[in-house]
Amino acid sequence: MSIIPVLLQPRLLTIKNRWFKSGNRGFREFFAAIISVVMMYGIYTSTLSTLRDAKGLFPGVTIDPTIPLGIMLGTLFLMIFLSAAVSAIGALFLAKDLDLIGATPVSTGAFLFAKTCEVGISVSWMVCLFAFPALLAFGAFYDANIAYMIIAPLLCVAFFAVAVSLGMITAIIFASLIPSEKGRPLFLSLFLLSFAGFLAFMNGLTWSHPSLPQDPAHHLARLTSIALNPWLPSTRCAQGITGLMRGDSAAPLWAALESVAILSLLSIATVVAFTRLYDRGLSRTQQTGNLFKIHSRAAHKLSRILLPFSNSSTRAIITKEYKVFSRDLTHTVQLALLLGLTFLYLYNYQLLQGPTNVSADVLAIWNIFLLLTNIALGSLVVTSICSRFVFPSVSLEGQSFWLLQVAPLSIRDVLKAKCKSWTLPVSCIGGVIFISGAMALNADIPLVLASCVAGIIICQGLVGLGIGLGAFFSQFEWEHSTQISTSLGSFIFMMTSMIVLSLNMVPLGCMFGAYLLFPEIQSAQSQVLLVLGVGLLITYALNKGVYWWALSTGARALQPK
């Protein structure tokens, strides 16, 4: 076991050297770390003030912390599991250090444990930055004692370790069963099948729920009902933390024992799977080959037809991006998992329907809230897609980046071409989310269209932000590609995206408010157009500004030095 710190040493030294021996880059990382601390404080204070506001809005009603904690932990568990599964494929099967370690006298157990630690730390540190300040805020709000402040994060760590372990075993089984060249179509087929099964399962769950009273607060309760099934480990962990908050020692003990028991079982299963399947998985992932014969000449002609208005260098970069993306197994896995999350989000969202037994004013305010929530939550889904694919786009050039540096085009043109590559797919996904969300709310057609247009505009801003900050925090030397989306830069990108989303809520809130609170506007088509047009124009100007700022920042960072 003494070999494990040795195996982790290169990663730790790389981080240390990046901070202290990389000149400006080190300063940039240090600056990012300071921002992270500020943001953690921001999460703490905003969670605390939200809880206080909620108490002010519903006086006399006791909010059970198990509900928000259960939702938060469930979401974070899913995020860690998905990240761990993808990172484990990279760390165990595609990392550049495998040959080096394979040639040294390191035992299988030590190798697996070291890689699990590496994956676990890389995928969960960011989640902990989000979760721990929120947990502390809950503790402060419910007057928890000091034991809570120490034990609650530890309970979360044990719970997150379960997600990491599940991700590891999933990756090992996946890589050993499916040859790399067949991974894409097989995985997508499996995903579609499991999605259909999931929908059927969820429908069953929903039907079994008793009907709930028709008022806004209970609509929110319905939204959260799926996340609060008692058999879910996240609910059990949330119950443990709630118990701890109330000074009950049995609930947290049971939650901890449950997490440790599941973790132990999963660890045994991971070791067994690793011992039996790793060599097979490694040889399969190292295979090179194509399921379909690539006809390079025909593909190139097709790209000229599909991108007729782009200049040749932009077309070259766009075509290259799509080809590289579609041939990378880890990208396919991430895409399928993220699409799953998107469907899950949409499924949950359709449970929200307009209340019927409230006054027109309350209904209007409720609808404004829902429309803004639709855009905000949809944008968060888009942000998580961007953090996985758009943000790493520049860094993924890796050691081939010299090809673009010596080519006769500016860095800004390179970044713009990358933005063009990603704007269409991200806007399509975003468009579907925003339209579906607005339609699920039974919103008027102008509002559905405005939501869609606003969403697409926001997508452009987010793509620009992703590429720009991806360039600013670019790292071209990586062990495996999945490391980039779990970097400090990626965290800053997500935080900055949330600030941009908050700014967007101002013009959009005014736009929806003007439409829904003043019925006389709805009766005149020209006024509808004016209100929606002005709102969307301000949103466009805001996002265009974000796009240009991010691209300029990124281009400056990548200029020859």
Partner: protein, 244 residues
Amino acid sequence: MITLNNLSKSYGSFKAVNDISLQVPTGGIFAFLGVNGAGKTTTIRMITGILKPSSGSIYLGGYDLLADPIRAKAITGYIPDRPNLYPKLTGREFLNFMCDLYRVPGKQAEKRIDEVLEEYSLTQWQDELIESYSHGMKQRLATCAALVHDPRVLIVDEPMVGLDPHGARNLKEAFKRYAKAGVTIFLSTHSLNVAEELADNLAIIHKGSILTTGTLDDIRELTGKHDEGLEHMFLELTSPSVEH
């Protein structure tokens, strides 16, 4: 064709390249020699636009690289010492990508790609992913990529690394042909036999400064070693015991 004026590159107080000036005439092979860490790769990276000089200027084909980088880069091809290419593209897709970056028109690009693939024996591998290529094949593909847009200036960093004897011989012959056709080749190497065999002119860089430049005969004249080979003169000039 290539002019470096008082070119310097500093990292903090360390001067990697110290005030070098060179004139490389059109159509010929210019060897840029130096021991490891002498400043060869830093100079090359500045000439290709990857690094920005701390001071000085670079002209490629009359274009100022710092003021007009797009035009200067458009007439230049670069073969690096390590062929880091896109592993998930096929050889042909990669060359198409390079043609598009350098704006080679469609039909001309197809014809030129066929020519370079044939010349470097990669035609039968053109539809395979680059990740399945051997190191030598990647090096040959990087050479194809540098040549596919018919550059007037070719910058080459350690060209023989990873090539088998046949590949190395073919590349040397190819360089001679290109030089004869009017391409200016700036060749950085520490293989003295390669420089001796190919170069019309050469320069020796040591600790960031140019020790000497000219033809082989000029250097023989300078060192007073009229019957010695390049290796002997190079070792003497760059010996740690010699004060420069």
